[in-house]
Amino acid sequence: MNQCYGCETCKSADKPLENFIAGLPMETSHHRVKGQSVKCGFGLKGVCCRLCSNGPCRITPSAPRGICGATADVIVTRNFLRAVACGSGCYIHIVEKTAWNLKNTALNHGEIKGHKALAALVEEFGIDASLDEHAQALAVAEKVLNDLYKPVWEEMELVEKMAYAPRYKKWKELGILPGGSKAEVFDGVVKCSTNLSSDPVDMLMTCLRLGISTGLYGLTLTNLLNDVMLGEPAIRMAPVGLNVINPEYINIMITGHQHSLFTHIQKRLADEDVIAKAKAVGAKGFKLVGCTCVGQDLQLRGVHYTDIFDGHAGNNYTSEAVLATGAIDAVLSEFNCTLPGIEPICDELKIKQICLDLVAKKANAESVEYAYEKREAQTEVIIDKIIEAYKERRKVVPMKLQPEHGNQNTLTGVSEVSLKEFLGGQWKPLIDLIVSGKIKGVAGVVGCSNLTAGGHDVLTVELTKELIKRDIIVLSAGCSSGGLENCGLMTPEAAELAGDSLKEVCKTLGIAPVLNFGPCLAIGRLEMVATALAKEIGIDIPQLPLVLSAPQWLEEQALADGCFGLALGLPLHLGQQPFIAGSELVVNVLTEGLKEMTGGQVLVEIDPVKAADQMEEIILERRKGLNI
């Protein structure tokens, strides 16, 4: 017997990571998959209802209705709406805080790094461009916040400004234009509570509303507001994986989705006096180590702070391995995915946990609830606490560095602006490639990482390989990006895995066949690209040879995301069904009925080859529709 915690860890597409985790002496999420592998069928199908004390009720042939009379359709839809509402709430929380940070930055004449981003927003929102930048920023922030706080019966002002016109028209027809984002979440939660709505179709339409609100505000706007405060993404080659962790520095792993909370910390860690503090305890300085979406955000904008950020180490289910290297001295968490499982690991490895947003409080984390006006004092406190942790732990905790893990040349920093610039300032080159057939179509492989669709990132990586083999270029955002990049699929060398035509395109342009948009928030950016392409061609989004996949979607946010994709009329592939299989109605609406309504459809397929086949078929259909 050896020191390994257990005999059974789940597979990972990232083999070096899989081996590292299998050999760890502590338990991780990968160890716990087998023990939870027999799933309750009622839960899996969404036909278990716990909304009242007469329950929990389950739908069976001998009991086809809950005690209240709810059918499987009602129970499944209520459960689904609840998840989408919560998921939407998550993203709206993020954009709300981001908008407040922008507002406070404007009011305090803080630094504006993304001038072009600000100008673009000003134009889109119809704000007076003659105002000084801070006034502009203030106006932008206030417009966003005003919208977020509107009551549910008042359409949000920016929806029409940001949405693609044909889509807006369709949504208006369907009556799914959202009211205030927070009110929508509120109503969504109320609607699916005990004995309220029992209209499955109405609840599904509510999910679409929540999707639109999530997509335009949570996904799209958060990125643009962040660009203003933190700088725009810039395409560059960057190192990724556990190799970015340098033990000579005081390393802080960050988790969450709110890059703007780190604006001040980022700056401070590069200041002379702070570096001196680090040197005084034997380190060369501080480094932020990217993990989860906020890490992807840092990577996206990495060109602006290369001295305190060496790279993105991995996605949510890589976070435990990141900590297990022993070289992380503190975790700063402010949102998901901050796994509860990191608590015992941080305890064991004496890693200081500090939580910046109470919504993501870890039991053993110290809470420093971020407040703009207190940010300077808070940052000093945080820095000092981390230095203490560094001093204490480096003496006693052994290193398990993985300098070979990951790679040095992942293409990152792709955004709706940087990609267009890369193509020479216009979309035409990309459209030409698609029209000519050199690129068969575009696939967005986005969203989370999970451990049960074949294993950690297994379906994501396999599906992506199948898609690029079929000359379909892949755009990625979210933890799926974190997995794909650690497996080398975002390096120029990955072109070798693509079909001949796509391979040639990649080699000519010097790009990877998989483009890294960054955090899951950047799914909104991806959708902006789709909108831009559609606009230029003069078609609506459902006509584009574009498919979306969230192969290993994980949490409720992903479902809200997915509803935006469906509202946009995109085919959405999922590796595992979202607990809806117990309702024929819901399955029919999402996989067939939606095609008539928004043009979108859900495809559930866990086999990567079959999924790629289905996605390719849709792309070919759409090409035919465009006569290309």
Binding site: S37, V38, C40, G41, R58, S62
Partner: protein, 148 residues
């Protein structure tokens, strides 16, 4: 003899049977699944649900076999097929914790207890008049008792 019959196609993996088994064999004097401590190793069921690899489930329940591999290998006399009921009953006090029964059941049903001092095996709920607790608890009637 009475035997618990299985239709795997009806099983939904809800594990009500496992909970009922835990409840009917608990040693803490409590009653009702709600008061069961799910994290104690001693709270362990004598049945098991496996994935069938195709999205379905396989209920693993002791058959009280006509030729019981477990009883036929018992070196302490703890496992014996009751001539009247036909059930293979287990006398914990006689058991020597050698686990030859674990090795000899071709279906892998018995298992050592968490503390390694005895085995866990179905006892047909000790012939209670209402029948086995698991059968009563199944919401899909995937298991039922038949005279064979």
């Amino acid at each position: 003899m009475k035997r618990i019959m299985i239709d795997p196609s009806k099983c939904d993996g809800c594990k009500n049977c496992a909970l009922a088994c835990m409840d009917s064999h608990r040693m803490d004097g409590g009653d009702g699944v709600v008061t069961l401590n799910f994290t104690l190793p001693e709270t362990e069921a004598r049945n098991e649900i496996l994935n069938d690899g195709k999205g379905g489930y396989l209920p693993m329940f002791c058959r009280h076999c006509s030729v019981p591999g477990c009883a036929n290998s018992c070196m302490s006399g703890a496992l014996k097929k009751d001539m009247e009921t036909g059930h293979v009953m287990y006398d914990e006090k006689r058991c020597g914790a050698c686990f030859m029964c674990v090795m000899n059941c071709p279906y892998g049903i018995p298992k050592p207890s968490a503390d390694g001092t005895k085995i866990l095996k179905c006892d047909f709920c000790n012939e209670r008049p209402e029948g086995p607790a698991c059968v009563a608890a199944c919401p899909k009637q995937a298991i039922w008792v038949e005279e064979v």
